[in-house]
């Protein structure tokens, strides 16, 4: 049963990684959210009825770029802390794909190593293209 056991460990690992990722993302967003409410809770709500594209803003909001989010998190900006939670949430399924890649490599299942690598590259390239 040597071939079965590592696979089950891997499923446990994937399952745990997903749970940890989601929990972490929610905690970060909650911290940011509470801080946001503490600072701005009493202000009238922003106008969400009209979408303002980045191109139309005089100054793009920090939380729309990765570097901006990092800058805002360092400066303890509430909105960027929330967005950091969103980024962690987005990374959760990506980490899952990487773990699957490891799992298939351990099983020497090369077809699926290839398939998983393609999925990972599609996500990566789309994200990098966006960043550029």
């Amino acid at each position: 049963m040597d071939t079965v056991k590592p696979k089950h460990d891997m499923q446990g690992l994937i399952s745990r990684a997903l749970r940890i990722g989601v929990t972490l993302a929610c905690c970060i967003a909650a911290i940011g959210g509470i801080y946001y409410l503490w600072r701005h809770g009493g202000e009238p709500m922003p106008d969400y009825t009209q979408f303002v594209p980045n191109s139309a803003r005089t100054e793009a909001a920090d939380y729309t770029s990765l570097s901006g989010i990092v800058r805002g998190v360092m400066a303890l900006q509430a909105t960027e802390w929330i967005q950091l939670g969103v980024v962690v949430l987005i990374l959760t399924p990506v980490v899952r794909v990487l773990l699957s890649l490891v799992e298939f490599s351990l099983e020497r299942d090369w077809i699926y190593v290839g398939i998983t690598a393609v999925v990972f590259l599609v996500i990566l390239m789309n994200s990098l293209e966006g960043v550029a």
């Binding site: 499923q11 399952s15 009825t49 990765l66 509430a78 969103v86 990506v94 699926y112 789309n126």
Partner: protein, 280 residues
């Protein structure tokens, strides 16, 4: 009286919790319910609603997938293979969203809802005696899943190419609307590939997070994801989905689903009407 941020956040948190509860109990997913909640309930712009739906989709998918993977129901290979189709589709969908008028997107969303409502009335028949196609064997897609009281049941599947094609469309809709498009995913696996229903739904759920992640960075950069909305939606929907999953184990929800299908239909008509009259 003007609504303060605090009031808005608290109401949205409760709304998102109910959306997550409903989404998980009806099998729709959190993202689909969040869009009408924001646009029709809170008069929020459709772009922000799509961004919030994306966040909700990833949260509920990853949260629920964690349990299903552990139980061994999810067909990880099948999901992985079809994710090629959904991620490529999602990238395409996010590109289409750039030039497509928002009212047209609202109409498409309405049509997806109608399909969803129709699916709630379909009888779920588990395929028996399916002979796996050559492609399915070559890709090692045939597997087993646990059935209560029986143990592990083996199954085979067929029509891999068709399933793949439908998955590309499911991906496009995900990229366009931020939703998981679980209905199309289940349609591809259950109807085309003849995968057992329980495996279809859990594998679909497993795939939603990855599909959504493919277009997520683009969403952030376009400013679709607004922190003030994303935060209560993410926490509320996830909380609701967890409660829903717990309730599901103790309740029969067939009737709830069919009643809810009528509500979905009404929302769909509302969306399509508003889209045609250019309200968004």
């Amino acid at each position: 009286m003007t609504t303060t941020i605090l009031i808005f956040t608290l109401i949205l948190l409760v709304g998102a919790y109910l959306a997550g509860l409903l989404g998980s109990m009806t099998g729709l997913g959190g993202g689909v319910v969040v869009i009408p909640l924001l646009t029709l309930g809170f008069n929020v712009d459709f772009h922000y609603a799509i961004g919030a739906a994306l966040v909700a989709s990833i949260a509920t998918s990853s949260g629920a997938a964690s349990a299903y993977v552990r139980e061994g129901i999810t067909n990880v290979r099948l999901g992985m293979f079809l994710e090629i189709a959904t991620t490529v589709g999602a990238v395409g969908g996010a590109l289409i969203a750039l030039w497509m008028p928002i009212n047209a997107i609202a109409i498409i969303y309405g049509l997806v809802l109608i399909l969803t409502a129709a699916m709630q009335y379909r009888r779920k028949v588990d395929h028996t005696g399916v002979v796996g196609s050559a492609a399915a064997h070559r890709l090692k897609l045939c597997s087993t899943y646990p059935v209560k009281g029986v143990g592990l049941v083996a199954y085979e599947l067929t029509n891999v190419v068709w399933g793949f094609v439908v998955m590309i469309f499911a991906g496009i809709l995900s990229g366009l609307l931020g939703i998981g498009s679980g209905v199309l995913k289940v349609l591809a696996m259950d109807c085309a590939m003849k995968v057992p229903f329980k495996v279809s739904t859990t594998t679909s759920n497993f795939m939603i997070g990855v599909t959504a992640a493919a277009s997520a960075v683009v969403y952030i950069q376009r400013g679709y994801i607004e922190p003030g909305i994303a935060c209560p939606v993410m926490i509320g929907v996830l909380g609701g989905a967890l409660t829903g999953a717990r309730l599901l184990k103790r309740m029969k929800v067939t009737v709830l689903r069919q009643i809810f299908a009528i509500a979905i239909l009404l929302v769909a008509i509302n969306m399509i009407y508003n889209g045609f009259t250019g309200k968004f």
